[in-house]
Symmetry: D2
Subunit: 155 residues, 4 copies
């Protein structure tokens, strides 16, 4: 791609688009997830595991680990000015997580091609041990993000 | 495998093991998920999407779609008497879902080999349209499920 | 989707489009793969494992198991008149395979949405034991398949 | 894990174990794949796409892209002294590849936990453009690699 969508976007603008998106995200808010956009295609999300997030084996439910990673992924892939959706994702669970632990999900962009992207999210506990490895596939629309001025339709 | 673990398990016992597991599952309960074990390696789970499950684009958060499918998967793979964990999973999102919709996740067993299993979960809305295709990889332990009498260590 | 692309396609035409595609597929031909289209979105492929397909552990290389499943997937997803590509795929290896074994890959369509599709391919040996579970994500273009008359651009 | 299997293994020994494995790998040899082990959990593999590796759309067959990435993965995950198998893998195809192109697959270790591992392989063409993103899940046995002295059973 010679002209990358969102390539000239100011850092403030990236943060603004994601902030507008997060403000509407009741699922992440309900789980106490906080997010920081750390650069184009990058984000960090944090969540503390509560007694309401437990599965039938007494550890953090995979759905909440996925929710945390998916939110970090969503913020990372929506730093390019246009609304971008999760098309698919995979997760490998590498260690059980207990109530009270604070987890950090670090999302990075691996590849972008056309309107598509591949993002990896590593979820770690506070000892830096990895508890999950997530990979997301994204698909960009031609709709500017809320909060972005936009520059007309994305080719 | 010539002697399948849990092969001679009575239906009531399967349901009892899963019921004990679900009773401890605060994440599924919090999302209003109900589950029915429909046979060995099979389960159906239902959830109605509330205003607390929404992502930044105004549709059901992928984390909640995953939570629903993952719970159906967990119940399906724990019908074989021994505690079984999700090792990994993937999900393809095939249609956006809105607040108020009731979703059904249908889990089936594709393959079992050694202590491992592959389970597919199709998530549909009430028009039968598919909204997500989930595939889980399970790993069985040698620990009998709570509620199961167990028959000693699983070879 | 109210009007499904390729919905009115005659069986002969489906087979013709896939046959033209297979005729150009030197990779499958080199592996001795044969394919039968068994219906819309469905195909079966067969391959006999030779001494040239072995990995460093003395069993069939995962690359050849993937090649077989991927070819079945490609034929299944190209039964809808328009050239369709593999966007992504995953595979779980469930049993080792030895030289001399004949494998059958059975591809079925799980979901189609917009230009996308999800296809599952189960690879079995001649005892019907599953040796691999493959899932492919497809993406349809607007280019009619070689051998298809086509009916103009696909919306 | 406090004592990592293979942690004290000399570089030469790592290379020797993988070299013995590659010597038996007829599939990789037949595709002209060469491999260099670049460190513990790391490998680079190269392959030039020939006219025998083409799919029905005239580009490199996904099976050969997978074969290249899978071989890099196998070499990376077999640098820890014990025979290690691919349990599962996923691949995203990000750009078509043509006959005559030389591809490089770069494998890195993301996580190891118990006997399991997660490895990522990025496949690039000679312009450094990414053509595929692969992720593999490995499972270690207690069998020392051929060429390794071994130190008895791996706990």
């Amino acid at each position: 791609m010679t002209t990358e969508p969102g390539a000239g976007l100011a850092p403030l603008s990236r943060a603004r688009g994601v902030a507008a998106m997060l403000a509407a995200d009741t699922a992440s808010a309900g789980a106490g997830i906080t997010v920081e956009v750390t650069g184009p295609g990058q984000a960090r999300a944090q969540m503390t595991v509560t007694g309401n997030m437990i599965n039938g084996h007494g550890t953090c439910h995979g759905g909440y680990l996925f929710l945390l990673a998916d939110t970090a992924f969503a913020c990372a892939c929506n730093t390019h000015q246009y609304m971008t959706f999760a098309a698919a994702a995979s997760i490998v669970f590498t260690a059980p997580v207990r109530v009270g632990e604070t987890l950090t999900a670090v999302a990075v962009e691996r590849s972008r091609y056309g309107r598509n992207g591949v993002y990896d999210v590593t979820v770690i506990r506070d000892t830096d041990e990895v508890v999950a490895e997530f990979r997301g596939q994204s698909r960009m629309t031609s709709v500017p993000l809320p909060g972005e001025g936009g520059d007309g339709a994305h080719a």
